[in-house]
Symmetry: C2
Subunit: 106 residues, 2 copies
C-alpha cells in the first residue's frame, strides 16, 4: 500500500518512539551504560516483561547495544549506539516542544 509518494521514513522512527517506556529507556541510557535491574529500578512502574520487550525492540532498530560481559555470573549491560544517541536530539526537541506548548495553552 505504500508508494514513493505516501511513504514517510520519519513515521517509522516516530512509531518506535511513540512509547513512553522506549523514550525513558533512551533517556536513562543517555548518561551511562546500565544493567537491566538498574534500568528497571530507575524507571518507576515498568515491569520486567515490558522492559525486556522494549530493550529488544530498541536493540533490533539499532538504538542500543546489548553488551555481554563474561564475568561469573554473566553480566549484561545496555548502552546507546551512535544511532541511539542521534535519537536523543529529536527526543529533546519534542520534549521541550511539549512543555512549551503546554505553557502556551494554559
Amino acid at each position: 500500500m505504500e508508494n514513493n509518494k505516501t511513504f514517510c521514513p520519519a513515521q517509522e522512527a516516530f512509531k518506535i518512539l511513540a512509547n513512553k517506556w522506549s523514550l525513558m529507556i533512551i533517556k536513562e541510557l543517555s548518561d551511562d551504560k546500565l544493567r537491566f535491574n538498574r534500568i528497571k529500578k530507575n524507571i518507576e512502574g515498568i515491569s520486567s516483561r515490558e522492559l525486556s520487550k522494549r530493550l529488544e525492540v530498541l536493540e533490533k532498530v539499532g538504538a542500543i547495544y546489548r553488551n555481554i560481559i563474561s564475568t561469573k555470573p554473566i553480566m549484561v549491560e545496555y548502552s546507546l549506539t551512535e544511532a541511539g544517541r542521534e535519537l536523543t536530539y529529536a527526543i529533546e526537541i519534542l520534549h521541550n516542544w511539549t512543555i512549551k506548548y503546554k505553557k502556551r495553552t494554559r
Copy 2:
C-alpha cells in the same frame, strides 16, 4: 496513573506525530500556506475525512493555523505556526535517522 517519575512530555509529541498523514501535512506546509484541496492533491491517498481530522488535531495542538480569508466564497488556508515549524526540525532528524538506519542494516 502518570506520576512525575514516569510522565514523559516527549511522548505526547511523539503520539501526535506517529501518524503518517500528520507528518506529511506538516511537510507540505513547510514550504507554503495551502488550501485544503491543494494539500489533498499533494498527498496521494489521503481521504477528505482523514485530512479534515488531521488538520483539526494539528490545529488543536498549535502546530498549524487555519486562516479564513473573507473572499466570496470564503477561502481557508492552512499554514504552520512557529510551534509547527519547530516540529519540522525533529521530523527532519527522525526522517534522516530512518534512512540512515535502513542503509546500515541492509
